[in-house]
Symmetry: C2
Subunit: 375 residues, 2 copies
């Protein structure tokens, strides 16, 4: 376990004790000696979920019952009834329950190593910064934030606190997705020439925060279009150099008063590869297709919670089906336990790259211009 | 068999004879009595292929060995060696062989009922008009022509000659395609909301006529993009009301000096349905996907010579595999034999609608503007 800067000394003295000095010295990302749980090999990192909405309730909490390297240790919620329900269901002590005002006291809670921020997009910045300042490593749901400036502030706060920041990019730990990354980036079917990646679904409740621009930062592009952006990026292994984009006219202008209903965008990559993508809150679509010089490969479904399904011009992709959320949290926590720097493609830097692209897509659609991304 | 205006009387007197007067009177599209082959139930319409390139040689001629209502009766070619080869291979008499200069004499050839124009796009107009003036029904490969004015001239010429004009829309006779038309137009999964339809392939020979703008009228959009346009139209059963489009930068500017290499376009339909499409001579992609209110359906491959493959949110689409070209020519010729007006969606009017859309897509991409198609 890596502790917060402020807690590390105290924990070192009280929890790990002198015995830690006798084990091989691991170091943290800055090369400083790491207080590992080497003396407690079975110990799991304690995760606190901030925000107990659908994703926490139905995906993360159940996944945390399957994880090997972390466990559900705490919750942060503004709804007392939810706190009660979760305490009972997951056997969480009152000491590990916070609301949004008491949250900062988590600095003193040695049960909590990682804070997972699962709040509306516009609250990510505040709670990631507060979590880092409380000495916790942070996982933050995608999109990382609603502006590039927010992303940068979050990265800076974690750096300053010497904590690591992961974004909820669960698919980087998902075997079918890892396979298409390999097929594309290693040019197994030759260079990737064209990608069709789309993600959309029919959005229900017209009052949800995801339809409010101030909270979500945008519509389906921010929510699920980001997967299509990720898909084009991780299949090519490249950063797009320009983008064009189009808003589709709204068929339900009342529901989509503040955010786009459906939109399209096209990336150009340095290698010459191009992509065409759609995102929508009006239509279901979920596919990642890559046309290469000597063949093709496809995931469909490509971005949902699984199981994913894949095929190539040579036949089906066969991979184990995993719990995406468990694989993601275990992957992050294993690296934290081992004192490793998290892989770049799941960090805040990656989150910022995506948010920058999402903003460029909106700008391209608003202006009707090709936006140069090299600048 | 329906004869040309100029020939009908002669044929009536010499071929069918008085016996035709004793059978129930069928009428042609204008209500005039029809000279049927009722007395010769097994007779097949004679088809002459104009242009003996890849499609004629490898698809149409073999298909005409399987057809029930037509047969390969003549050829029109500028290459004497090809004429010899075909005469022998298909047992075609010298009297039924023409070159581009002697072609008009086909007016006197009672073996030939239908002329199928399989020439480069810019030659379609001339040979369709000449065929109609020679009293023949005409099938013309897609795209119908390279300008809307050409299409209109072709329609007018056939109308004036009282001949029918079909475009090479083979997929309208293909069972998987007919099924997705039904699923979409009859709203089997509820209204269609979004369509992703794309068609592209890696183009070979850099010297082929398809890369020359004067002959092809454009690049992959004219050649295969038209299938993606058709797909969006026949799944919705609607005509698009606006379009945006984008050229992708060329990765091989030498090869694609005259025409686009890859491009994208987005249609909006009156019902609110939208589509996003890609066509390319640089990348293989071939799919027609429809997202509906209560499910989805897909063909992939969707536009090639078959077999096509389809699935829906409820399971696979199971349909008989047919020879596309045989089904198409048989369907057209059966209607001609029966004196029926050809279905609107395979006529010159449909061809013109597509060419008008192709031109609008180019205009949208060139100007960066949304092109209003209602005007």
């Amino acid at each position: 376990m890596i502790n917060s800067l402020s807690q590390s000394r105290r924990r070192f003295l009280t929890t790990v004790g002198a015995s830690a000095l006798t084990i091989p010295t691991l170091t943290d990302v800055l090369g400083r000696p790491l207080q590992t749980e080497a003396g407690q090999p079975g110990r799991k990192l304690g995760v606190a979920l901030v925000g107990l909405g659908y994703y926490s309730k139905n995906l993360l909490a159940p996944a945390l019952q399957q994880t090997q390297h972390c466990r559900l240790a705490g919750i942060v919620t503004g709804t007392p009834a939810k706190a009660e329900e979760w305490k009972q269901k997951y056997n969480i002590s009152q000491a590990n329950v916070y609301d949004y005002k008491t949250f900062d006291r988590i600095i003193d809670n040695k049960d909590i190593d990682v804070v997972y921020v699962v709040l509306p997009n516009n609250m990510h910045r505040e709670f990631v910064v507060r979590a880092a300042q409380a000495g916790k490593h942070v996982i933050c749901e995608k999109p990382m934030a609603i502006t590039v400036a927010d992303c940068q502030a979050m990265i800076d706060a974690c750096k300053k606190a010497n904590r690591q920041l992961a974004i909820g990019y669960r698919l980087h730990y998902e075997p079918f997705t890892q396979e298409v990354m390999r097929l594309g980036q290693q040019k197994v079917f030759g260079p990737v020439k064209f990608i069709e990646s789309s993600d959309g679904f029919r959005s229900g409740d017209p009052n949800q925060w995801r339809l409010k621009k101030a909270m979500a930062g945008g519509g389906p592009l921010m929510d699920v279009g980001i997967y299509a952006v990720q898909g084009a990026r991780y299949v090519t292994g490249e950063e797009p150099i320009s983008v064009t984009a189009q808003f589709s006219p709204k068929t339900d202008p009342q529901k989509f008063k503040e955010v786009e209903e459906t939109m399209f965008w096209q990336f150009r990559f340095p290698s010459g590869a191009v992509s065409n993508s759609t995102t929508s809150y009006a239509s279901g679509v979920e596919r990642l297709y890559a046309s290469c010089q000597d063949g093709w490969f496809e995931l469909s479904p490509a971005f949902g919670y699984g199981p994913l399904k894949g095929r190539t011009s040579k036949g089906p992709i066969e991979k184990p089906v995993v719990n995406h959320q468990a694989a993601h949290m275990d992957g992050v926590c294993k690296d934290l336990i081992d004192g490793k720097k998290l892989p770049d493609h799941i960090t805040g830097e990656e989150g910022l790259r995506d948010v920058r692209l999402l903003q460029a897509i909106y700008r391209a659609a608003e202006t009707g211009r090709t936006i140069d991304l090299k600048a």
